[in-house]
């Protein structure tokens, strides 16, 4: 089993309220915010690793390849995935501003043709652009079956099918996909029991959340290969289908007040806000 995971670096999402807009609204400025692995992509790496493991050991012959598109510095973030346990990285260099979801999907389709994975796993959205489109577009480009917003993944023992629980409005849809396939993962996929592969014993406990890389793995990751090439080497049309023309900060909410007790709250809700 070979799994391809795509990974984007994003400005520290826990400080997203500190983003600024350049004068004239030309661009979003994220100076001072640490570039981190998009959280959903980190979950995708964790999902992939759980699928190629028998508990704590790697299933012989299985592999996880991480692909990223962006500046050379994104190698640092690929390295983080390698420290978690992924085997190798692919970095297709370009400016962040020259990318959008559509281009990433078309470029990934080329990577898939070359790498021939059995599964492609992606985060459901990058927390900067919040577009939520790459997995769907990739599946359509490849003509592969897909399941988006996965909260559970169960790989059959014969590794020919995967049953995915999709977190949707009002409940959970379960789909059974015949591999090769594309999966996009949601938050709950990193629950301790969310990913099963019929190899790891049911008694094995994964911690909730993506794994931390221990020091020996961080050192080992430095020797793992990251192949770097310009995005143009994939032979994709790099013109974008959408045009971003400006950015602004959202209007600030006017400062509210603290009420002294429940009585004042109800009084203000009724008479001032007319919300009761």
């Amino acid at each position: 089993m070979k799994i391809l995971v795509s990974l984007k670096r994003t400005a520290d999402p826990d400080n997203a309220n500190k983003v600024k807009v350049a004068p004239g609204g030309a661009k979003v400025v994220t100076d001072g915010l640490e570039p981190k692995v998009n959280p959903f992509d980190e979950y995708a790496v964790e999902t992939a690793l759980r699928l190629v493991e028998n508990g704590k050991t790697r299933i012989a012959g299985d592999s996880v390849v991480v692909a990223s598109f962006g500046p050379k510095e994104a190698a640092t973030n690929i390295r983080q995935a390698l420290a978690m346990g992924a085997d190798s990285g692919l970095l297709y260099t370009t400016d962040d501003d020259s990318l959008d979801g559509d281009l990433v999907a078309r470029a990934l389709a080329k990577v898939v043709e070359a790498q021939k994975p059995d599964l492609v796993i992606l985060g459901k959205q990058a927390v900067d652009g919040d577009s939520n489109q790459v997995a769907q577009e990739l599946a359509e480009l490849l003509g592969w079956p897909s399941a988006t917003f996965a909260m559970s993944v169960d790989l059959a023992a014969d590794k020919k099918t995967v049953t995915v629980g999709r977190e949707v409005d009002g409940g959970v849809i379960k789909l059974k996909l015949t591999l090769p396939a594309v999966i996009s993962v949601d938050l709950r996929i990193v629950g301790g029991k969310a990913v099963t592969n019929n190899v790891t014993p049911a008694t094995h406990n994964y911690n909730d959340g993506p794994r931390f890389a221990p020091l020996p793995m961080i050192i080992k990751a430095k020797t793992k290969p990251i192949a770097e090439a310009p995005i143009a080497s994939l032979g994709v049309e790099t013109a974008l289908k959408v045009k971003y023309t400006g950015f602004e900060l959202p209007p600030a909410r006017k400062a509210g007040i603290k009420v002294k007790d429940v009585g004042e709250l109800v009084d203000r809700l009724r008479n001032e806000a007319k919300a009761l």
Binding site: E137, F149, L175, V242
Partner: protein, 324 residues
């Protein structure tokens, strides 16, 4: 000539309210529009759709659409859009629309404007606003391709009211869906609730980790929810702790809501949560930590122990509503 195709969302034969936001979008975009209803046994939903001022209601009634599988739906949507010469394909950015719209865009070679919060028609060009960085910045964008696909944020486009009239109904054929052959629909485990839907409620009462247990959600928070006649929501922390089901999560990656009144109880106000509720008209926060970030967006903040304040508030709301 520009015209819009609105994709209706139908579940179990029932027209979902999400559809009404996409219709509002089509009206605001200003081009003539038609509505496409896909499903199995969608006669009643199609009938309901006739009253919204669409030129036509196109109905693809086929066993292929009995359950939602994006691979099954995308070819028909794209083929109908192509055959009818539509320049804009619009759907609400529910989990249905988010799953479907990018695939339709690929099939049409179209650019996608995802999860837009505003549209302006500037001399025939649609200019969109969309929140990025968890709503901490707003981008202005447009699509350069001749055909464009748009998903619209439900909380930012008010549900359309019927405008009268009766659009013509015509049947359209389902297209072959070869990509669906390797997808088997197994089940839809629906979370049923007697309360209003989170994305449609006028009042939302949401709880956080400070409620400390599923039991406390039931016995402490839910009486307040029902006193308001509200929908119940939750922070990610409360969902992760297993206090309430996933689909109640409000936030950047959960539901985005903008009710008339949002009451946040025991929610600290992480950036990701604020992204899902800060456009609510009136925000109330109850939290014992006076420094909690939720107070920065709250119109009315009450620094108090929720286990004492919430029962008091429940009684007061019941009395206030009984007086009306």
């Amino acid at each position: 000539m520009s015209k819009t195709l609105v994709i209706a969302e139908i579940s179990g034969g029932r027209l979902k309210k999400t559809t009404h936001s996409a219709i509002t979008f089509a009206r605001e975009a200003g081009f003539p529009f038609d509505i496409l209803a896909l499903g199995k046994g969608v006669g009643a939903a199609a009938e309901e759709l006739r009253g919204f001022g669409a030129g036509a209601v196109l109905v693809a009634d086929d066993a292929l659409f009995a359950n939602f599988v994006a691979e099954a739906f995308a070819p028909t949507v794209a083929d109908v859009a192509k055959a009818g010469g539509y320049t804009v394909v619009a759907v609400t950015a529910s989990s249905f629309g988010k799953d479907l719209s990018p695939r339709v865009a690929v099939r049409l070679g179209a650019g996608l404007a995802p999860d837009v919060s505003r549209v302006a028609n500037q001399g025939g060009t649609l200019v969109y606003k969309r929140p990025i960085y968890a709503g901490n910045a707003i981008a202005t964008m447009q699509v350069s391709t001749p055909v464009q696909v748009v998903s619209v944020r439900q909380s930012e486009f008010a549900a359309a009211a019927p405008s009268g009239g009766a659009s013509a109904v015509s049947a359209v054929a389902a297209s072959a869906a070869p990509n669906a052959a390797r997808v088997q629909f197994v089940s839809f485990e629906e979370v049923k609730s007697e309360r209003p839907e989170l994305t449609e409620a006028r009042v939302v009462v949401a709880g956080g980790r400070s409620l400390k247990s599923a039991e406390n959600f039931k016995t402490v928070l839910e009486p307040l929810v029902d006193a308001f006649g509200a929908a119940l929501g939750a922070s990610r922390a409360a969902v992760d702790a297993g206090y309430v089901p996933n689909d109640l999560q409000v936030g950047q990656t959960g539901k985005v809501v903008a009710p008339g009144l949002y009451v946040a109880v025991g929610i600290s106000g992480a950036i990701q949560h604020l992204a899902g509720m800060k456009n609510s008209k009136v925000i109330v926060a109850v939290n014992k930590d006076a420094e909690a970030p939720i107070f920065q967006v709250a119109d009315y903040g009450l620094v108090a122990d929720l286990f004492k304040a919430v029962p008091e508030l429940t009684d007061a709301v019941k009395r206030a509503r009984a007086d009306r």
